[in-house]
């Protein structure tokens, strides 16, 4: 059915455009503020275009801005987050894949109950595990380290990754696995030869979900890491709330964009999977 540009349609498009501006405004403000000089910021206004473009704030945010007592910029913390996120995402996704395979294709007596018990991990407010976790990390000697954070993210990511893969594998016809078993294929053969080759999309969904969650995490970071091992979200918060000296809004905004870039990048190149992960994780979780 062809739609003509009736007055109603014009209102519709105007409303959609207005909402688009509302969503884009903070991004525009962050970007434009980050390339303004401090004088320009003080003299002009929030949404005015920069009078001249300078990347000084960016280089300061990256390599010399002060987050609390240290003045090494976001650089080190950015790499902390990379070193934390990459192993956590990979490990939790791989374990989740195998778990999901078991609870969907190799169900045994009680496996449904066990799966439900596991799912509770998706719902708890993490505040209820912070105190014992802090103590345990201390006793293991990995408090305030990236390894400690990796451990925490893997542990509390497993419920979600298992759920993702389970929900994907249950949509695969049983006959496929049954036929393979009759042909003598065992547990691992079926997993590696039959299921993995068709699991590309769900790996994408799971990796993207986990990466976004872990990169953007603040609670675990602020509780279990301090000083040099902080992830970037914690460092950004410290930078913005450091009250010494002149408030450099352009540096704050540049640092915020740096902290947001990896997940924004993932969203831009793989938005389809991102949305699917959100809805899949949401509808069931």
């Amino acid at each position: 059915m062809a739609k003509h540009l009736t007055p109603g349609r014009i209102v519709l498009y105007a409303a959609l455009l207005l909402m688009a501006i509302y969503y884009l405004l903070p991004l525009y403000v962050m970007l434009s503020t980050s390339v303004k000089t401090l004088d320009d910021i003080r003299g002009g206004n929030l949404i005015a275009l920069p009078q001249s473009i300078t990347f000084d704030a960016w280089s300061k945010a990256w390599s010399s801005a002060c987050t609390g007592v240290e003045c090494g910029g976001m650089k080190g913390f950015f790499w902390n987050s990379v070193k934390m996120a990459v192993p956590s995402v990979l490990i939790s996704t791989l374990i989740g894949a195998v778990n999901g395979y078991v609870v969907s294709m190799w169900r045994f007596r009680g496996s449904d109950v066990l799966f439900t018990l596991l799912l509770v991990g998706c719902f708890i407010p993490f505040q209820v595990v912070l105190l014992p976790m802090a103590r345990l990390l201390g006793e293991l000697g990995i408090a305030n380290t990236t390894s400690g954070l990796i451990l925490v993210h893997v542990i509390y990511g497993l419920a979600f990754t298992t759920l993702f893969f389970r929900n994907f594998f249950v949509t695969i016809p049983d006959e496929l696995v049954k036929a393979a078993r009759i042909d003598g294929a065992g547990f691992w053969t079926i997993f590696f030869r039959i299921l993995l080759p068709i699991s590309g999309p769900i790996f994408m969904v799971c990796v993207i979900w986990q990466f976004t969650q872990i990169w953007n995490d603040f609670l675990f970071g602020v509780v279990f890491a301090s000083g040099e091992s902080q992830p970037i979200t914690v460092a950004l918060n410290n930078l913005v709330n450091t009250s010494t000296g002149v408030k450099e809004y352009n540096v704050d905004m540049a640092a915020a964009i740096i902290a947001a870039l990896p997940t924004l990048f993932v969203y831009m190149v793989a938005g389809r999977y991102f949305v699917r992960g959100l809805t899949a994780g949401a509808v069931k979780g």
Partner: protein, 300 residues
């Protein structure tokens, strides 16, 4: 390839215990780090622990202290205000956008991408951006002032009575696109023939949406409520970045209360009690919602 009898039975045996073996580490982890840790926190909340954990039970003194703590009640009230408004507004904006986008729009993909990108951001980034936009001296207030309304003031960020509403503004901005995506997926799942039949009967588009389409999205409503209330109760990052719980303690929420008492004030018992209260709130909100969701999914 010939397989001997014994090999076959060996692999059959392996297939029987392998699944359990593979799943057991995760189950053990869940048992210890979820259930065990909740029990540990629960126990701690029943002791006199302050700076160091003590294991002697002391009854409900921490809960008593919690309920006599004004700051806790500020946090709970704020959670009520924030939770109610955040859930209501996000739901309304998300549904509105989904319905608009469902009208066979050009450039729908682009618009969807724009509406949804905030969900990829960390709440800390969102908080930082909005903190700057809501800056009373140099933010949106000044923009409006410069536009010829010099008396316009918008200083909610530093107003103790209004600070919590700024968290709502930023929270809705961040999460409404996500709700839009969920509703849109629901709308796309609706059979077109129902709508066409109603149109033939002479029903107008708003009536069709209000009477037929939106009611049929019941299961989506429950999922959305579930997720949003979960986000609301756990909200911590956004408040930390935007107001830091301030001015003073005016925009405290339970998650910040818990963090500060447990980790910066050395009141482990009180922190544990507040964490348990958060868990109970989540259970109290989520269990009925999940029950209703399953029921409505079965019926619909």
């Amino acid at each position: 390839m010939s397989t001997s009898q014994s090999q076959a039975s060996l692999s059959a045996l392996a297939d029987r215990w392998l699944p359990k073996l593979v799943l057991s580490p995760t189950l053990l982890i869940s048992l210890v780090f979820v259930y065990g840790f909740i029990a540990w926190t629960g126990w701690l909340s029943l002791t006199e622990s302050r700076l160091l954990p003590q294991m002697d039970l002391a009854g409900l003194i921490q809960y008593q202290a919690l309920f006599e703590n004004d700051r806790w009640w500020t946090a709970v009230t704020n959670l009520g205000i924030f939770g109610g408004l955040f859930i209501g507004c996000t739901l309304a904006v998300g549904l509105f956008l989904a319905v608009l986008l469902d009208q066979k729009i050009r450039a729908e993909g682009t618009l969807r991408t724009i509406y949804l990108y905030p969900m990829a951001l960390s709440f800390i980034v969102t908080g930082t951006a909005w903190k700057w936009m809501l800056n009373p001296d140099m933010g949106l207030q000044k923009v409006i002032n410069d536009w010829g309304f010099p008396d316009f003031t918008f200083d909610w960020l530093v107003d103790p009575d209004k600070a919590i509403y700024t968290v709502v503004i930023a929270g809705v901005w961040q999460s409404s696109g996500f709700v839009m995506a969920l509703f849109l997926a629901g709308l796309r799942g609706i059979d077109d023939s129902i709508i066409k039949a109603a149109q033939v009967d002479g029903a107008s588009l708003p009536v069709i949406y209000w009477r037929i389409i939106i009611p049929s999205l019941r299961p989506v409503f429950f999922s959305v409520l579930l997720i949003l209330s979960h986000i609301a109760i756990k909200s911590f990052d956004l408040v930390m970045a935007l107001t830091g719980g301030g001015p003073g303690t005016a925009s405290d929420v339970p998650a910040i209360f818990m963090y500060q008492f447990a980790f910066t004030r050395g009141q482990l018992g009180l922190g544990a009690a507040s964490a348990m209260m958060m868990l109970m709130t989540i259970v109290a909100v989520l269990v009925p919602l999940m029950y209703m969701e399953t029921r409505s999914a079965k019926r619909g």
